[in-house]
């Protein structure tokens, strides 16, 4: 009656298990309760958490890392709430994304989003409307938010480009 983890079935599963958050991968018994609970799966036919875990367990390393499916998890953790084996599915997908990112497999959508953020310092540039500008003006605030301004530059310098700035 102990809950010994099952033996890893692939080297990729072992790799995920070594990654922080991926430890529980081998507890999965493939019962499918995650897929049956997943809200993303309701809207995206290709997204089935159990099948993705299965691919990891089977060692489909390239396919998983190149897929954008691990990036679709919205971390609502409903599957974890219901999983009877105590597997943290969203943590596993986080671990998978870590590996993928290290190897440069980031879906274009996500790349574009990050690039926008890096360039503008604000993710929602399009949301900056005339009305908000008027509001800021009324409130006596500077209407020029200075996209691509010095702040983003300094952040990049400090955290992303070797920390030369102090």
């Amino acid at each position: 009656m102990s809950s010994d983890p099952h033996n890893p079935t692939s080297s990729f599963a072992q790799e995920v298990a070594r990654e922080p958050g991926g430890e529980d991968i081998n507890k999965c018994v493939q019962c499918g309760i995650c897929s049956a609970s997943c809200l993303v799966a309701t809207y995206e036919r290709r997204y089935r958490p159990r099948q993705l875990i299965q691919k990891i367990l089977l060692g489909e390393r390239e396919e998983v890392l190149r897929s954008e499916l691990p990036w679709l998890c919205m971390t609502c953790r409903l599957c974890e709430e219901r999983c009877q084996e105590g597997v943290s599915i969203s943590e596993i997908f986080h671990a998978v994304r870590q590996i993928a990112a290290r190897e440069g497999f980031i879906p274009n959508t996500f790349k574009r989003t990050i690039n926008t953020l890096m360039e503008d310092g604000w993710l929602l540039k399009d949301a900056y409307s005339d009305m908000i500008e008027d509001d800021r003006d009324d409130l006596g605030l500077d209407t020029d938010l200075g996209w691509n301004n010095e702040f983003v530059k300094r952040v990049k310098e400090r955290y992303l480009e070797g920390g030369t700035s102090s």
């Binding site: 009656m1 102990s2 809950s3 507890k27 018994v29 493939q30 019962c31 499918g32 309760i33 897929s35 049956a36 609970s37 997943c38 799966a41 309701t42 089935r48 159990r50 099948q51 219901r82 999983c83 009877q84 084996e85 105590g86």
Partner: protein, 918 residues
Amino acid sequence: MTVEHASKTSASPESAGGVSREALVVGGGVAGMQAALDIANQGYKVYLLERSPSIGGRMAMLDKTFPTLDCSACILTPKLSEVARHPNIELLTCSEVKSVKGEAGNFTVEVLKRARYVDVDNCSACGECTDVCPVEVPNEFDWGIGFRKAIYAPFPQATPNAFTVDKRGEPACRANCPAGVNVQGFITLMRNGKFDRALEIVREAIPFAGVLGRVCVSYCEEECERGMVDEALRIRDLHRFLADYERMNGRTKPEVKTDKKEKVAVVGAGPAGLSCAYHLARMGYPVTVFDAKPEPGGLLRYSIPEYRLPRDVLDDEVQYIKALGVKFKMKTNVKSIKELFDKGFKAVFIATGASVSRRLKLPGEDAKGVYHAIDFLERVSKHEPVEIGEKVAVVGGGDAAIDSARVALRLGAKEVTIIYRRSFVELPAIKSEVDDAMAEGIRFMLLTNPVEVLTSADGRMTGVRCVKMRLGEPDSSGRRRPVPIPGSEFTIALDNLIVAAGQVADPEGLHREVKCHERWGTVEVDPITMATDTPGVFAGGDVVLGPATAVKAVGHGRAAAVSIDRYLRGEDISEGRVSTRRRVQSYEVDKSGVEIEHRVPMPRAPPAVRSDNFGEVELGFNEESAVVEAERCLGCAVCCECKLCVEACTRNAIDHDMEDEVVELNVGAIVIATGYKLFDVDEYPRLGYGRYNNVIHAMEYERLINASGPTAGNLIRLSDGKIPQDIAFIQCVGARDVPKGVPYCSRVCCMYGIKNAVMAKEHHPDTKVTVYYADIRAFGKGFEEFYEMARTRFGVHFVRGRVGEVVEDKTTGNLRLRVEDTETGEVVEVEHDLVILSPGIQPPQGLEEIAAELNMQLSEDGYVQVLDEITAPVDTLTPGVFVCGCADSPKDIPDSVSAGSAAAMRATIILSQGEEGA
């Protein structure tokens, strides 16, 4: 921990007085029964202890067994009767292990045998009692989907074959009533429309269903459990209805049976005296009641206004007491107690009350226009002329104050003010009376106290000077002491002042002949027996308590009557008088599913109609509203002690006064066979159990398809009685669930789930049956074949995938399951019309307590730890204590029975060391 490990103890069994040749088996399920039979058949005596009223355990509840589909009852019943008839087996049902001492070969076990209230040897299980029992509650044996009575046998083959009364103790209402009225009893009979029998129950305690139904302060309602949900029952108004109903429909003359010789004198015809006389007369004593007033009733007649208590109601109930043979000597002043004994009375009850108004000792209190409440009310009650002006104030906050104010209003006062020195919270009068007074326009001047009555030159009062008060520290009565605020004096012009500041006993009364309280002048009595310091003289009511309530006086009268009866028969008057009955605790009363339903309002005459006359204000319930109100009773104690069963039983087998007893056993070995607890499926809100009527669990399903179950074996939906067309079984509910604390496989659910699925097909071959599972563990002999048969021969559909959630369709009551068929990868939403959860099993409730008593180790999962899983699977870590059935791990029936036999063998190895005939 009272059991010593063998290694730690110095005394060997021999030195401790030899090895006992008797054994105790704890738990009367199939494993325990097998163990008991195997020990008994080797010639040793066995005590088979079972917590519930019948042995048989869970197997008795099952419909069929897997994998052979044998009828569970057909296999078990012969075993049940074998156990019942075995000369070496003694059944201890309704029992629990209280304590265990000693060691292997020589245990001393204390067993608590709960009262069954039915003599097992005398009961023939004819069922006459069940037919008349008015209390219906969910049947635990049917897992709550069926009902049983308060006196019941859980199932037809119950062993021992005797009924049981489910009585949880004394309900709050009855425990709180100073006169001990069996409230739950009369209310239960009212719900069933048995008004005359209900009134009989009230009359067992009080002669005043109608009088107290109007004037009682209702201690019973204060702690009514229904009040924890919404509002307390209107208990008082309900017994008033019973009296009204009788008065409207005629009464049968009470039976007079004055069969005793000893004459008893009661001094004082108030509620205490009348109650005492009533109870003595019912016991057969000749009783004479003496009173100085022209009519009996005491303050009920001479103080309580007629709009609260119409005199014909009082007369009627006094008449009932007279009809019992009680003699009244009115307008008679009894001079001394000795005089009564000289006249041949053998015992005396003093109930002369406290009907002298206390004086405030204010300057001007004797002025013309100042009344004292009791005199004022008495004169009004006697219809004597009483002069009342336009502006009247009443001092005090008790019932006499409210009565005086409302009477003054009815006598023509235009402006009536109640002056009370504390705040509204402390106001002691009955709440509904205060509300009525306010509705009639009476004003309350709180935190105010009079200091002087102002008088004119001709000695007539003109007004009152008052002072404002604030509340200081609590005084000895627990209420905050009012303190005058200096300089806050003010004057009110008044025509009359009525002082209602309490009453005292007549300082010259004959009660002064017995020992009285030095300061209060009240009689000192034993609070239980009402005995004074003089033999044969008892006292009760206000003369003992000071001004109190009518119901307390009635209670005193009843208690004194019991004492007088014992005294006259030469018995000990105090023995066994203190009630040891346990009160039903609030948490023990199941309030789940009780919908908010406010008390039925009491119809009242509107203020405009009532405030200038003495017509009754509260008009009383009609039959319909009385029953509706009675239906709100939660039936806290289950059995209401109406005792209809006692009448119905032709063999005198029912005894409601049975008490729990403790039995001491000396045994050489103990077998633990305490079974399992079904996982509580409420812990899976996602599966909808408890919220959706058509989601049930496997044990409910077993009872549903069982021929002796609540539907006589018809597989239907309980929500609408429809035959299910599409049934789903959900496996692994509360098993193999790490976050829920049950990581282990329960071992039986796969097979019983498949069996249940097959049985659904057996009942309705056209019904679609689907089993949702993660793995099928068909590991035993014939199991895999059974699984195969379910799929192929019966057409049960198996889907590999755990169900995410169950959602109900509100209109059809059908259920939609979201699940991934892991064999196809398809996530689907499937509709079923009945969902059955297959819960796992857990260690039984109470096992921890037994383990602590036996110094027995439990495993991490809470099961009994065995010495060695492989080589000593029925030995516990405590020598002489063995285990079988599901107490140490989940098992199916054959494995449980095998373990029972094994444990029996291990136990008899110890017993055999004892000397025969020792």
